[in-house]
C-alpha cells in the first residue's frame, strides 16, 4: 500500500513536502501528490506517516489500497 493525497481536500500548504523522508511528495497542478513508487508509508523511518501527521486537513492523506503493502527490503 501507499499513501495518497485527496486532491479536492489539499490546501496546497506544502507542509507534507518537507516532512516526507522519501522525497515522494511534490506539487502538481496546484496540489500535492505522492509518488507511489517512492512511498514507504514511513515504515522504517517513523511511527506514523509524516504526511498524515502534519497535514492540517483531516482525511486528506489517506491509504491507497490499490497498491500492495510496502515491504522493507531485508
Amino acid at each position: 500500500m501507499t499513501y495518497k493525497i485527496v486532491a479536492s481536500q489539499c490546501t496546497s500548504c506544502s507542509a507534507c513536502e518537507a516532512e516526507c523522508p522519501n522525497v515522494a511528495i511534490s506539487e502538481k497542478n496546484g496540489t500535492f501528490v505522492i509518488n507511489p513508487k517512492k512511498c514507504t508509508e514511513c515504515i522504517g523511518y517513523f511511527d506514523v506517516p509524516q504526511c498524515v501527521a502534519v497535514c492540517p486537513v483531516d482525511n486528506t492523506c489517506i491509504i491507497d489500497t490499490s497498491y500492495p503493502r510496502y515491504q522493507p527490503s531485508a
Binding site: C13, S14, A15, A18, E19, V48, Q50, V54, P56, V57
Partner: protein, 522 residues
C-alpha cells in the same frame, strides 16, 4: 505602467516640490505606478522615541510595524514564500489560508525565493519609503526554513539597506536562532497567546513536534516552552523581539496580562495585542463555534492595563501575508508575479536615500510642530479625556476625504497631549449584507466612541448625520499635521467646556470590523 489607483488623481495636498521631482525620477525608469501611498514625507531621528532605550529606538525608528510614529512615513512588504505550517490554531483555517499572522495568511499567490527577491527590488524601486521586508507565512516561516532563509540571502545581497524581519509561531524558533543571526535578521515577531497550557489547549488543537502530532495540554506545553526559550535566545543575542497576542474574549483575555509580564521579563520590547478575527465565513473553529472577538473598548482596556509594563503596539493592521505599502494601504495588486516578471528593475540606492532624507526632514518638522503646540497646553490640568478619529493617508497629516477613508486613526486627547490608541477599518461596508445606504451608519458605529472626526474634506449629508450622532466633523485642519491639530482642537474643546458653551459627554463603545483589508481596486 498600469496604475489603477485613479483616485490619487484627486490628491491635492501640497507635497514638497523636490520630493515630487525625486519620485518622478524614480518612476521613470521602472514602469510601475508610484502614486498611492504618499508623495508626502516625513520620518525622523530622535523624535518619537518615548521611553524606549536609545539603542532600540535607533533600530526601530524607521520600522512601520514597530514604531507608531514611523508607520505614518515608512512602508513594509511581506513576501509569501512560506506556505507550510507546523501547528494548528483555532483562529486559523488553512483551507482558506491562515488567519493569524496577518489576516494573516491571506495571500494571492505563493512565490519562490527568486521571485520574492525580484519583487522586493521592484517594490523598493517604486516605493522609496519601503524599508522593511518581512516573511510572515502564509504558514510559518520557520516551518519553511529553506525557502525563508534563501529569500533573506538573495535580498541581503541585492538590497543590503532593507531590514529583514520574520514572524513565527515559535515552535521551531530555538533551532534557527543561529541562522537568524547569520542573516542579520534583527527583528523577529513571535505570536504568543498563552503561557498556561490549560488555556493553550483551548487555542491549539495540535502541534507537529519531533515527527508526531501532539494534542491537548501536552501540545500547548511544548509550544509555550519553545516560544519562551526562543524569545530568551533571541534577546540574549541582541535580536529585537516583538510579541503578538490574539485577544480571545473568555479564553485568554485576562491571561494576557500574565503573558505580557512573562514576555517582558524575557526581553521582548513591544507587545501587540490584536483582536480575534472570527467570522463564521472564514470557517475557523472559533468562527464556527460562535467565539466572538473583542469590542474596541475591551481591546483598549486590555492594552491600557498592560501599558506601563512595556510598550504596547496599537497601530497593527493585521495585514495580509503578501501586503505591500504603508500600513493601512495595500498595493499588492500592483505587484503580482506576472507584472513583476515583466518589470525592468533598476534598484537605485541613492534615489531611495535621497527620498528618505526628505522624509526625515518632514518628520522632524512634524514633531517640532507637535511640541510647540504641546507647550501651549502646559498648565491645563483637566481630567477630561476624549477620543478623536482622523482620516489620513500617511505622513502624519490630515489628508484624506471622509468619503475616501478606508480606516480612521484614533487618538486619545488629554492635557498630556495626543496619544495614538488605534485604528478602525471601515472598508468592508458593502459586504456582509449591508448596502451603500448603510455605509455611513457602519462608519459611525466604527468611531462611535469618538467626540470628533478630523478630515481633509466632507460633504454636507455625512456632516449632518455625524452631528446627529454626536460626532463633531472637523475640516478646518485639512492637510495639517495630525497631532498638532488634535492638541489645538483639544485646547479649544476644554475652553468651550469651561465657558459652558458645550457640555462634555462620555461616548459609548465602538465596533471592530472583521475580516481582511481588501483594497478597493483589487
Amino acid at each position: 505602467m498600469d496604475d489603477s489607483r485613479s483616485f490619487d488623481a484627486y490628491d491635492s495636498e501640497p507635497a514638497p516640490a523636490q520630493l515630487d521631482d525625486i519620485m518622478q525620477k524614480i518612476a521613470e525608469h521602472k514602469g510601475c505606478g508610484t502614486s498611492g501611498g504618499s508623495g508626502k514625507a516625513s520620518c525622523g531621528s530622535g523624535a518619537g522615541a518615548g521611553d524606549m532605550p536609545a539603542e532600540i529606538w535607533e533600530k526601530v525608528k524607521n520600522h512601520p510595524c514597530y514604531s507608531e510614529e514611523a508607520h505614518h512615513h515608512y512602508a513594509r512588504m511581506h513576501v509569501a514564500v512560506a506556505p507550510a505550517c507546523n501547528i494548528q490554531c483555532n483562529y486559523c483555517n488553512r483551507k482558506y489560508d491562515c488567519a493569524n499572522e496577518s489576516r494573516p495568511g491571506v495571500v494571492s499567490e505563493k512565490l519562490t525565493p527568486e521571485q520574492a527577491a525580484k519583487k522586493v527590488l521592484a517594490v523598493a524601486s517604486a516605493i522609496p519609503q519601503m524599508t522593511v521586508l518581512g516573511i510572515a507565512g502564509p504558514g510559518d516561516p520557520l516551518a519553511n526554513p529553506g525557502k525563508t532563509f534563501k529569500t533573506f540571502e538573495l535580498i541581503s545581497e541585492a538590497a543590503p539597506d532593507i531590514k529583514l524581519c520574520l514572524s513565527t509561531n515559535g515552535l521551531a524558533l530555538p533551532d534557527h536562532v543561529e541562522t537568524i543571526k547569520k542573516f542579520n535578521v534583527d527583528h523577529v515577531t513571535i505570536t504568543i497567546n498563552m503561557t498556561d497550557p490549560d488555556i493553550g489547549a483551548e487555542i491549539y488543537p495540535w502541534v507537529f513536534w519531533k515527527h508526531k502530532r501532539v494534542t491537548g495540554k501536552e501540545a500547548a506545553k511544548i509550544l509555550t516552552d519553545r516560544q519562551l526559550q526562543g524569545l530568551e535566545m533571541l534577546t540574549a543575542n541582541g535580536i529585537l523581539c516583538k510579541v503578538n497576542s490574539v485577544m480571545i474574549p473568555g479564553v485568554n483575555d485576562d491571561h494576557l496580562v500574565t503573558v505580557n509580564r512573562e514576555v517582558k521579563s524575557r526581553g521582548a520590547f513591544l507587545h501587540n495585542i490584536m483582536p480575534l478575527i472570527s467570522s463564521p465565513e472564514h470557517g475557523t473553529v472559533f468562527g464556527l463555534n460562535g467565539q466572538r472577538g473583542p469590542s474596541a473598548q475591551e481591546l483598549k482596556a486590555l492594552q491600557d492595563s498592560c501599558e506601563g509594563e512595556m510598550n504596547m503596539m496599537r497601530h497593527c493592521r493585521q495585514c495580509r501575508a503578501d501586503a505591500v505599502g504603508l500600513l493601512g494601504e495595500d498595493r499588492s495588486a500592483e505587484f503580482t508575479t506576472d507584472k513583476i516578471m515583466e518589470m525592468e528593475v533598476n534598484y537605485d540606492l541613492s534615489a531611495r536615500q535621497a527620498y528618505q532624507e526628505k522624509v526625515e526632514e518632514e518628520r522632524l518638522a512634524k514633531v517640532a510642530a507637535r511640541n510647540a503646540e504641546l507647550e501651549s497646553l502646559a498648565g491645563e490640568n483637566a481630567d477630561l479625556k476624549i477620543l478623536v478619529a482622523v482620516a489620513t493617508k500617511g505622513s502624519g497629516r490630515i489628508n484624506e476625504h471622509f468619503g475616501h477613508a478606508t480606516e480612521f486613526q484614533i487618538y486619545e486627547l488629554s492635557s498630556d497631549g495626543a496619544k495614538f490608541v488605534g485604528h478602525r477599518r471601515v472598508d468592508l461596508y458593502c459586504q456582509g449584507g449591508y448596502g451603500e445606504d448603510d455605509a455611513l451608519e457602519t462608519v459611525i458605529r466604527a468611531i462611535n466612541d469618538c467626540t470628533a472626526v478630523f478630515v481633509a474634506k466632507i460633504g454636507h449629508c455625512p456632516k449632518d448625520d455625524l452631528i446627529k450622532a454626536g460626532i463633531d466633523p472637523v475640516d478646518q485642519y485639512a492637510y495639517e499635521f495630525i497631532e498638532q491639530s488634535a492638541i489645538s482642537y483639544f485646547k479649544d474643546y476644554l475652553a468651550r467646556v469651561k465657558s459652558g458653551e458645550i457640555t462634555h459627554v462620555t461616548r459609548g463603545d465602538a465596533d471592530i470590523r472583521q475580516g481582511a483589508y481588501v483594497p478597493v481596486n483589487a
